[in-house]
């Protein structure tokens, strides 16, 4: 019988774990969340190449953190918290004069008619987008992170504010959006 190499032994030990080891955990999360993280970074102003690079960097930092034995209760929240902070640093150093503008409103109004959604729905989405753009920066960030599934304490940790302040920002943001949706115009 040929003895197992040390690396093979370690791999088999990792495979025996319920989560398959750090590499498998990170690889799975990468498949699940990379597009969401990438889109979030676009929305906070990174240009597409920087957003993509930052996304990969975030997952590699997750891997390094797991290798060090750090226990992470909510991986998704950790990822978005790190993505937010890292993304802001990248954005301030972007060698361009303006933050990335996805020009969503223009795309929404010029999009081909979709029989499944109808014109009314497209107009609602365009109005909603306009309303989200009109929120304060902290309200918008709280809203976007909440949409990604982060809880108030996790959002607070990412933005450096208390959970109760997060709640207040979200309350105001949704109140504003409610008004817009009710009126049908910004």
């Amino acid at each position: 019988m040929v003895p197992l190499s040390l690396a093979a032994k370690l791999n088999s030990m990792a495979a025996a774990r319920p989560d398959g080891g750090p590499q498998q955990v990170v690889a799975r999360l990468f498949e699940e969340a990379r597009d969401d993280v990438y889109r979030y970074l676009l929305l906070i102003g990174l240009h597409p190449p920087q957003a993509q690079e930052a996304t990969q960097e975030v997952f590699l930092r997750l891997y390094t953190t797991l290798l060090k034995g750090v226990e992470i209760e909510n991986h998704r929240a950790w990822i978005f918290r790190v993505a937010h902070n890292y993304g802001l640093k990248v954005r301030t150093s972007q060698n361009r004069s303006h933050a990335f503008d996805p020009a969503l409103e223009q795309k929404l109004t010029s999009a081909e008619p979709d029989p499944e959604r109808g014109l009314a729905q497209r107009e609602r989405m365009a109005n909603l987008y306009h309303a989200i753009e009109g929120l304060s920066e902290q309200q918008r960030r709280c809203l976007l992170l909440r949409m990604e599934g982060l809880r108030y304490p996790e959002i607070g940790e990412a933005l450096g504010i208390s959970p109760s302040t997060v709640g207040e920002f979200l309350r105001r943001a949704l109140a504003r959006l409610q008004t817009v949706l009710k009126k049908g115009q910004p």
């Binding site: 750090p22 590499q23 990170v26 690889a27 990468f30 990379r34 597009d35 990438y38 889109r39 676009l42 929305l43 597409p48 190449p49 957003a51 993509q52 690079e53 996304t55 990969q56 960097e57 997952f59 590699l60 930092r61 891997y63 390094t64 290798l67 640093k89 301030t92 150093s93 060698n95 996805p102 969503l104 795309k107 929404l108 999009a111 959604r117 609602r124 989405m125 909603l128 987008y129 989200i132 809203l143 909440r146 949409m147 809880r151 108030y152 959970p163 709640g167 979200l170 309350r171 949704l174 959006l177 409610q178 949706l181």
Partner: protein, 522 residues
Amino acid sequence: MRYCDGELSTAETARVRSHLEACWECRAELDRLQQTIAECMEFRRTVLREHLPPPPEPWKDLYTQMGRIDAAMAPPPLWRRALRWLGDVAQPRIALPAGAVAALLLAFVLFRDTPSVQAAELLQRAAAAENKFPRTARRLRIRTRSGSFTRLLPAGGPSPVAELFAQARYDWQDPLSARSFGAWRDTLDRKDDEVAEDREGFRILTRAYAGELREASMRLRRDDLRAVQGTFRFQNKEWVEVTELEAGAALASAAETPAPAAPIRTGAAVEPVAAPAAESGDATDADEVKVWALLHQLKADLGEPVEITRAEGKVRVSGVGLAEERQQEIAAQLAAVPHVEVRFADPAPVPATAAAARATLRSGESPLAAELERAFGSRAMVDTVAAEALDHADALMARAYALRRLRERFPQGAATLPDSGAGALGAIERDHLNALLAHASQLDRLLAPAMRSLGAADGGSEGERNLFAASYALERSVSMLFGGADAAGDARQLPARLLERLAQVQSLARWQLAKAGTDSRE
């Protein structure tokens, strides 16, 4: 809202639920809130996913990158740890059998440290050496893509370079230190290291896969592992080169000590420029003045460690510690000049005398900090003026050094040169003098009103008869005013001394300029 998001405590949730059961108005409000949330999620699902631009490149293979992290984080192999243990315990009284020593040496040769381990160990030792001595202010020459200037660090005040380093999470207050280099290096998840050694010392080069700072290198002096030069390349293509100046001693040593003709050990070698086949005879003074003029055009005679000597019938242009791009630029400029040899080398060790002559400055706080703040209006204004004043003082000093070198090389001036050489030499001198006066004028504008408000009277121009000495004294005064004071000085006299030295420099420079104009007409 918090109830909707499940952020209330159990008791609070129960209370709210109980109320909702009884209150239609609140229940209707909750329904509207949840509908808005549903619209937001619809927005995320449809608008964001469909209309945001996709990633511009294919996603990289994460397993490959995680594998690199594994390799970088791997502990040293057992044989290395054993070798280290043997090195710790080996004393003269322990004599290993010759065979065992040979085996260990062979193991070392075959399985020597990876560069990452070498770099980490070297930085650790250098940082330990730094910790033995208190941190003092250091004069550093900083070169960037857009120019060069001098700083006394640690110092306050924002600057584009400080901002670059802050974004890269590299300590700008102490950029030339193994501590700062090591601290930055430790933040990198993935990196590649190179370590090179020559007779002068060590060079560590670290490349990062991500982050603002993509490549950093540092030279450590062999004797004491002191960091003497660093080069930093950033993601946005900016580069910064930091070199320690020993209170003018390094500039003096570069200006006065011919660089040793050592071959280049790292980086691209600049081969000696062969003389054109058709040239004959030895280099003349006119050839040398031509070289000075060409270097002057490149501003390579302003404090850069470039030497011009005559050896073996040629004009030899040599230098220590120049960046590779600069070496190539200079070589290209001189390529067509006959009887010229270009030879660059790595930095020589700082002579003991220069090290001993290093001025000791206190750690960056001006002795007149409060007075300056009153005179200029705010601490931020002091920092701004300090940065500009130090720039002008440094540039003025560079011109003074350049003039001194010309005077030492051509003590008779243009008298012994042919017409073409005399004209070129005179033009270089006048250019330096005009620039020196311009910088002195700027110092006057920046500092004189504040110095007078601190009680200093306008200085007389008597005293120093030598422009270089007067410039040196002025530059020291500016440094001391903003960064510290030497042990023997009386800080209260600084404003008066500064004005006096400024007047001397302006007077001497005008006189020399007038004389140069007269000489050229003769």
